[in-house]
């Protein structure tokens, strides 16, 4: 991390830790806005930080680490894409169905995060690219993901939409990979602390070799998710994130299975209770594994791309995206 990233990370982590410790409310979001976090990737001449995707992934990872129940990730991406066209908090969604004729959208957007109170939404456009719409035109059907995070379906009739070249589905996947990396690290830290403290058969669980080996396996998976997320952010920053984001979301998704299983296993029954703070992490991890593309989606995208290029291009293409 460079100096600016260190500063952003410290600021975000202090804030997220503080906000996660208490029940979130409207004033919680004001705390996020007051430090300007959603403007992280907005150009400096528009009053933002002018940050890049590597900066953003640091913040997104920390939001995941703290299981932050606020839409800072979605608002940050939406603001970066809106480029000052809207006031207020924006959000993003992974899917839309309907027709986009000229600048008129008829149809539904599904899975919009924290839609209540959002001023605008960015979603995939029918036929490719993305579109941005004013939420004042939407009728909102409330729902939530399995972690209880608000996810709404939005109905639009004759709504004004503006096309954007960005691939919001991929950008959402990049963000979720970073959140997964953070939540895995936090689950690992919680697991390590627990097994050092909890005694059975007269000694801490940490002294049992089976427990040690399980958590070592977990640590490797968390490490892989972290490297994947940062690598994808770097690639996106270079303007060629397609391959890397597909690989990173897929790798992070695969780490979720191992990580959540081992976190719960070493915690025993207490980790399965509503009272104990492991589930805000693990339930998010299970939800995020599906959001913006599950394993079958991204492995299909990557597999198709590689097969279309052929065996003898596999390695050359893999290295060309970083050189």
């Amino acid at each position: 991390m460079n100096e600016q990233q260190q500063m952003i990370a410290e600021m975000a982590d202090d804030l997220f830790a503080d906000l996660s410790a208490r029940k979130t409310s409207d004033s919680s979001w004001e705390a996020i806005e007051s430090v300007g976090l959603p403007s992280l990737m907005v150009d400096a001449d528009r009053g933002g930080f002018g940050g890049n995707w590597c900066d953003a992934v640091i913040v997104f990872r920390l939001a995941g680490y703290r299981a932050l129940a606020l839409p800072v990730v979605e608002a940050t991406i939406a603001a970066a894409l809106a480029d000052g066209a809207f006031d207020g908090r924006g959000t993003i969604a992974p899917a839309a169905e309907g027709t986009l004729a000229g600048d008129r959208f008829d149809g539904t957007i599904t899975g919009a995060a924290w839609a209540e109170g959002a001023a605008y939404v960015v979603a995939p456009a029918p036929g490719g690219g993305s579109m941005i719409l004013d939420m004042a035109q939407a009728s909102i059907g409330g729902a939530a993901n399995i972690a209880g995070e608000p996810r709404a379906n939005l109905a639009f009739q004759g709504a004004t939409a503006r096309r954007l070249p960005a691939d919001i589905f991929a950008l959402g996947a990049l963000a979720r990979a970073a959140q997964i990396a953070g939540a895995l690290d936090a689950s690992l830290a919680m697991s390590v602390a627990y097994v050092n403290e909890r005694k059975q058969f007269g000694r801490p669980l940490a002294k049992f070799q089976a427990v040690q080996q399980s958590l070592a396996t977990f640590a490797c998976e968390a490490a892989a998710a972290n490297c994947a997320a940062l690598g994808a952010a770097q690639a996106q920053g270079r303007g060629d994130g397609d391959y890397a984001i597909a690989a990173a979301k897929l790798r992070a998704n695969r780490a979720v299975g191992v990580g959540t299983a081992l976190a719960h296993q070493v915690h025993g029954a207490i980790g399965f209770t509503h009272e104990y703070p492991l589930h805000p992490l693990t339930r998010r991890l299970w939800a995020w594994r599906s959001e913006f593309g599950g394993d079958s989606h991204w492995s299909g995208v990557l597999g198709d791309r590689i097969c279309a290029r052929g065996a003898d291009q596999f390695w050359a293409d893999l290295t060309a995206v970083t050189d």
Binding site: V192, A222, N226, C227, A228, D295, G303, C307
Partner: protein, 379 residues
């Protein structure tokens, strides 16, 4: 908690040119007739190829020019290594000399030893092996019992090493010997440079389950060596050995051993594969992409002068598990005879039999996980 801090890797500007150079060299020199030789190719010795690589300036890349090296950056070296392995180039003859022995001699060797051995290593003509394991010191390396004792100005070596890869091709061994009588565990150990043709050194092959010959037993029977055979500081052998471990555990050879099989799977899949094969290719590619970043992150940290021992251990554990899993996954996804004659089958059958060794060589999975657990604060 963040157990692995990834690096923002800036690949060298010279990377595309180096890749092109390696690819041309491989195209000119590597016989692709038997696809099995492309798998796990860092264990496939071919002195002719090693000499060609040396002549092209691609061995000893980071070593000083005064010892035949080329003073390139560690990441430039990394680019060359990953290109060679991904292409299945037979780099087994010189691999240990290039990865460890040359650098060890430059760091700890006497001037005489450097001049005698290192330029030949850089030319791809002098090969090395590592004498660590013994019959009662496999994973438990600090149980070394082979001895070196003073006799006037000379050293006398006695004892036995086992599982010594390529001892039968090597010109020299770096051997870890007990130099302090009565010392225990990792105290009182020292490293020695042993010419393999020294009187009293004998080699016996160990044939592996595939019928292959990589391993050997090496016996020292009163081997008399001059004082300058000692490498580094007497009694400091354990520290010298463990200082190399990050480099040894994190290189691209720790995750690319089965890439030849992935490439054959892509070839067999064609442009329109079925869903399961397509998904498997995507998954293996994602893993390869991630491990490459992890492995290169370690190279960046080492180049900065850090010793990322914990992260390097993670790379080896993840990488070995990955290259070990590929054969089974491919066998489950595709109907192909692992006895051949299809190339995919041949590589599959070869790797099914070889891959158990991937999580044994260079530190077993259990040892690695123990090291990681200690890093997590569990031991």
């Amino acid at each position: 908690m963040q157990t692995f801090v990834p690096e923002s890797i800036t690949w060298p500007d010279t990377a595309p040119a180096l890749r092109a150079q390696v690819r041309a060299l491989v195209a000119a020199h590597v016989d692709r007739g038997d696809p099995r030789r492309l798998a796990n190719s860092w264990a496939v010795p071919d002195p002719r190829f090693s000499r060609a690589l040396g002549a092209a300036g691609l061995i000893g890349m980071t070593w000083p020019q005064s010892y035949g090296g080329h003073e390139r950056s560690p990441l430039e070296r990394y680019v060359v290594l990953e290109e060679l392995l991904a292409a299945g180039a037979p780099v087994g003859a010189h691999w240990i000399a290039d990865r460890q022995t040359g650098a060890l001699l430059i760091r700890y060797g006497t001037e005489e030893a450097r001049e005698r051995w290192v330029p030949g290593m850089a030319r791809g003509e002098i090969y090395a092996c590592i004498g660590l394991s013994e019959p009662n010191a496999g994973s438990d390396l600090a149980s070394v019992r082979a001895t070196a004792r003073h006799d006037g100005d000379d050293w006398i070596l006695d004892g036995q090493k086992v599982w010594t890869t390529n001892a039968h091709h090597a010109h020299v061994m770096i051997a870890l010997m007990r130099t302090e009588e009565g010392s225990e565990r990792n105290a009182g150990l020292s490293q020695f440079l042993v010419p393999m043709d020294a009187p009293g050194v004998s080699i016996r092959p160990i044939i592996d389950l595939t019928g292959g010959h990589d391993f050997n037993e090496v016996f020292f029977d009163g081997v008399r060596l001059p004082a300058n055979a000692l490498v580094g500081v007497e009694g400091d052998g354990w520290r010298q050995v463990t200082a190399e471990l990050s480099l040894e555990r994190s290189g691209p050879e720790r995750y690319l051993s089965s890439t030849a099989l992935l490439i054959e799977l892509i070839r067999r899949a064609g442009a329109h594969p079925d869903t399961a094969v397509r998904a498997l290719i995507g998954r293996l590619a994602a893993e390869t992409w991630t491990l490459r970043l992890m492995s290169a992150s370690i190279a960046v940290k080492i180049a900065r002068g850090e010793d990322p021992a914990l992260e390097a251990t993670m790379v080896k554990d993840l990488g070995n598990s990955f290259e070990q899993a590929i054969p089974e996954l491919v066998q489950a996804a595709v109907e192909v005879d692992p006895a051949g004659p299809e190339p995919l089958g041949l590589v599959l059958g070869h790797l099914l039999q070889l891959s158990p060794s991937f999580s044994l060589r260079g530190g077993t999975r259990e040892i690695l996980k123990g090291i990681i657990a200690r890093g997590l604060g569990l031991r």
